[in-house]
Symmetry: C2
Subunit: 195 residues, 2 copies
DNA sequence: CGTTTTCAGTTAACACTGTTAAGTTAACAG
DNA sequence: CTGTTAACTTAACAGTGTTAACTGAAAACG
């Protein structure tokens, strides 16, 4: 295996095992049995390495979402399944999820814009389903792409509160998630106004 | 003015002017015309200082929300106003908002739990309005406190995507926000099913 | 008054961080 | 056998949060 991939692999291990705070160049290097400076032969800098990790995480999430889609179910149900899948991914792989939103763009002056928008291909799964629902008058949206993005954002918020441990201790996590999904999905379905 | 307050003040200045990345103990100290170690006479450590800053930010946000409530308007409208106000606060004071969710609990072993749940008193504003709406059969919730929390979380998600610059460049920010608020609020109002 | 204790701040240092310039070492090309 | 290239290391720089030991002045006590 190339050293580049070795570095990516041990970085992921380290991230999951010991968290973002311990993910230093020297710790990564030690685990890969090289020196820290060797990493710079394969990555521009730490942000570049993190972006590669983010890439992998998004890919991972995308796979999970893709596997969840069951076209035989009705569209609203498909949307709810995806929402649940998204949240479950974040809970199952908290560190991998967090890193996606952890690297702060304002603090790395010249990052590749398209990298962050690579997540686009993932939320386009949502956009497709929303668009189908719109055509069948099941889902109430003007622009499926924008609505897919707001859905994505809403789910991120739900996950973010849990992962950052901001959830009120009086509120059971499961109940919070169920309620959140119910509200989120309801925000998209057509209001059946009296004829 | 006490040195403690002086430190808090220049910290806030520094955060706003130069961002979280430049908010180091030595930078703070320099601006307060003391040495870095003096800060430790007034705060346990950096996290403790950050928590004090977070406290102030939450208080600031709470004030804004409180000022936004207009009881003469209908409840749905009040909820929407609060949602818009929340998002606007985050856009007007991005650094102050970000710090609220930036300090990562898993990386500070023994933080005071009640600190993070101090935000509770802020979202209880939402809970109140939701509860009133429930009593008037305008809003569809089982538990106002939990639903208020899910609303809060969703708004945080919307803001988070914008502040982290994850918003697709093809999507105008204003349109994104308007759509998000529409979906979020619709997720709470009673479905007027045919009689 | 003089002495002692207390308090608020400083200096120096430790162990870490990302990152760069220069040096090494081995494989390959001519 | 020599020259070049590539992969890696060593040493160092400037920065980080944090601690222990020190300084000086003010307050407390006899």
């Amino acid at each position: 295996m190339s050293l580049r991939n070795e570095i990516l692999e041990v970085s992921r291990e380290l991230l999951i095992e010991r968290g973002f705070g311990k993910l230093s160049m020297r710790n990564i290097a030690k685990r890969a049995n090289v020196t820290a400076t060797s990493i710079y032969l394969h990555f521009d800098n730490k942000d570049d390495l993190l972006l590669a990790l983010i890439d992998q995480s998004i890919e991972h999430l995308k796979e999970k979402l893709l596997a969840e889609i069951d076209s035989s179910k009705d569209l609203i149900r498909q949307l709810e399944d995806l929402a649940r899948c998204y949240i479950q991914f974040a809970l199952d792989h908290p560190k991998e999820y967090e890193i996606i939103y952890m690297v702060r763009p304002e603090e790395m002056p010249e990052y590749p814009k398209e990298k962050f928008q690579q997540i686009r291909s993932a939320y386009e799964l949502l956009a497709e389903i929303i668009d189908k629902g719109r055509q069948k008058d099941l889902i109430d949206v003007e622009n499926p792409v924008i609505s897919a993005y707001t859905l994505w954002a809403q789910l991120h918020g739900v996950v973010s509160v849990i992962l950052n441990k901001r959830l009120d201790t009086r509120i059971p996590q499961k109940e919070f998630i169920d309620q959140a999904i119910e509200h989120v999905i309801q925000g998209f379905i057509i209001q059946k106004t009296p004829a």
